[in-house]
């Protein structure tokens, strides 16, 4: 049985990897995958706490997060397809029509 800290450290590392990925990657789909990784890091945190506290709320939260992530994926990929049809690219460097 691993201690709570181990789970928290792993999820914090996953979250950090996801964040760095969002900030450095250029392909919109890869960025979205990094966001999904951040959400799953959060899920791991919730479950670790839920087990540790003996409180089921955290696990219920995870179900909602997964459902919402699925809905978000549907909408996000649709937006990417719409963008691709007009621009023939999915690189965020090409999302540049409007600038400061």
């Amino acid at each position: 049985m691993l201690a709570l800290n181990n789970y928290l450290i792993v999820s914090a590392i996953l979250f950090a990897i996801g964040t760095v990925g969002v900030l450095t990657r250029r392909n919109a789909i890869v960025i979205f995958m990094c966001v999904e990784m951040m959400l799953n890091a959060v899920n791991l945190t919730f479950i670790a706490f839920s087990k540790y506290l003996g409180n089921i709320d955290g696990q219920v939260f995870v179900f909602f997060v997964m459902t919402v992530a699925a809905a978000e994926a549907a909408v996000g990929l649709a937006l990417m397809i719409a963008f691709y049809k007009n621009r023939e690219s999915i690189d965020v460097e090409d999302v540049n029509l409007m600038k400061l």
């Binding site: 996801g18 964040t19 890091a41 409180n55 919402v68 909408v75 996000g76 963008f83 049809k85």
Partner: protein, 484 residues
């Protein structure tokens, strides 16, 4: 580990949301099964649905009622905010039809999406559990991603949708991580339980899990209300999204962000406000200054109003920093007046807009004062109100927010706010200089006001002036709404 007890179902608490969900789902079906290219009737049906929802919402005014095992509450605070959301949805629907026909993206799904977004906002305002607030926020955000990219043929709209989606999902990650850490530190997602835990264990304020959790929640909400330095998405999304949607996004979702932000901060962590008001102080100053300074150099009118909306979030944050009843009431009042004046301004932009938003620059307003005097006067009222000049709603709102800050001893913050407000007069009046002191460079493409836009303009001008001249009744409601 405990089992899940099925709580008593009290549908009366969520009646407005239930009604609006049914209307939205029925409209989706109507849109599919009724043939024809004209979708304006869906807007009319949505307005009826919003009116019924508003009646059901307002009738619950009075004592707070908890429901679903204390995860949602119908209190005056939520009701006031819900009225703001319903009004901004109704105004956005009124100005949608003409624009969508003109841009040839007249899909009927627009109206149900606006209604679903409104349901999300309503859940955010009445949620007393982090789970419900998260679900409301996501319902709102997912609808807004689609709405921002609604004009599929336009590359600008695609970009707006994609940018908003990527950054919105990114910020959701932070918000959720904050919620997870807060849950871990306090043992519950219910705001009431978090409150009693923090009250019973003051030592939690130095628990790193809790502090990081609170900060991450603040980051997530700051993104939604477009506070600097989390505002980078705002100008691009506001510029690229279809104009009626921009109007909607700047009024409703911003208010919803504040509703949830206030609910979590003031209700769950009231005894820690010495800590988080410091963070809010910095956010407020940054947000006002960044918004106003960059707005000074904008030519595109939608982009200018986007930066101005960042600045307005900053003014509301001043009231939040004050962290007293007057400040909270000030935010409520300000969000209501902001909905009227900002959507009104966008209605004028739609009215003189050409296909493809070809004349979206400040220079294109040249000579409007001579060609369409009435429209120019109406636009001037909105600009005066946004700049905070009496006798308009914007002045009363700002006055109330800044005096709340002074009452709590934040004199410096109030002074920075007033200076910012003075700077903002420049870019609002610049539009008026073009309207009244320059000759028109080209003919206006005047298609005439449709009845729905005329109603919207009339309501906005009326409300902006009435709230500015006799704010008493509404301010009283706002004060009653924040008596927690």
């Amino acid at each position: 580990m405990e089992t899940i007890a099925i709580p008593a179902i009290n549908l009366a608490v969520v009646m407005p949301e239930v009604i609006l969900s049914i209307v939205a789902m029925v409209l989706l079906l109507v849109n599919v099964f009724v043939p024809g290219k004209n979708k304006g009737y869906l807007g009319f049906l949505s307005l009826i649905g919003l009116a019924v929802t508003a009646a059901s919402t307002v009738s619950a005014w009075g004592l707070p009622v908890l429901g679903f095992n204390g995860t949602v509450v119908q209190d005056n605070f939520a009701i006031f905010f819900k009225v703001i959301f319903l009004i901004s949805a109704a105004l956005a629907i009124l100005i949608s039809d003409r624009y969508m026909v003109q841009e040839e993206c007249n899909q009927g799904e627009l109206y149900p999406l606006i209604l679903f977004a409104t349901i999300g906002m309503m859940l955010m305002a009445s949620g007393t559990d982090l789970m419900v607030i998260f679900l409301g926020l996501e319902l709102l955000s997912i609808c807004l991603y689609v709405l921002a990219g609604f004009n599929r043929a336009s590359l600008k709209s695609n970009e707006a949708g994609l940018k908003y989606f990527l950054l919105g999902a990114f910020s959701t990650g932070f918000l959720l991580y904050g919620m997870a850490l807060t849950y871990g530190a306090t043992g519950s997602t219910k705001i009431q339980v978090i409150y009693s835990f923090v009250a019973g264990n003051p030592a939690v304020a130095t628990n790193p899990l809790f502090v990081i959790g609170m900060l991450l929640i603040a980051v997530g909400f700051s993104f939604k209300i477009a506070a600097a330095p989390f505002h980078m998405w705002t100008p691009d999304v506001y510029e690229g999204a279809p104009t009626p949607i921009t109007a909607f996004m700047s009024a409703g979702p911003k208010a919803a962000g504040f509703a949830a932000f206030i609910r979590v901060m003031i209700f769950a962590f009231p005894m820690l406000n010495a800590h988080w008001t410091q963070v809010l102080w910095i956010l407020a100053v940054l947000t006002m200054t960044v918004g106003n300074v960059i707005a000074l150099s904008q030519d595109n009118i939608k982009r200018m109003l986007a930066y101005s909306s960042i600045a307005h979030a900053g003014y509301a944050l001043v009231g939040f920093t004050a962290c007293n009843a007057q400040g909270a009431a000030g935010i409520l009042f300000y969000m209501l007046s902001y909905a009227f004046m900002n959507i009104g301004a966008f209605a004028v932009i739609i009215l003189i807009g050409k296909k493809g938003e070809k004349n979206g620059n400040v220079q294109d307003f040249a000579g409007l004062g001579f060609k369409k005097p009435l429209l120019a006067v109406i636009f001037s009222v909105f600009l005066f109100s946004l700049a905070g000049i009496p006798p308009t709603a914007g002045f009363i709102g700002k006055f109330y927010l800044f005096s709340a800050a002074i009452k709590s001893g934040y004199v410096g913050l109030a002074i920075i706010g007033v200076l910012n407000s003075a700077a903002s007069v420049y870019y609002y009046l610049r539009v008026m200089v073009y309207m009244y002191m320059k000759d028109p460079t080209e003919e206006f493409d005047w298609a005439g006001a449709t009845p729905s836009i005329a109603i919207c303009l009339l309501a906005c001008v009326g409300a902006t002036l009435v709230l500015g001249i006799v704010p008493g009744v509404v301010l009283e409601w706002a004060q009653k709404a924040v008596m927690f």
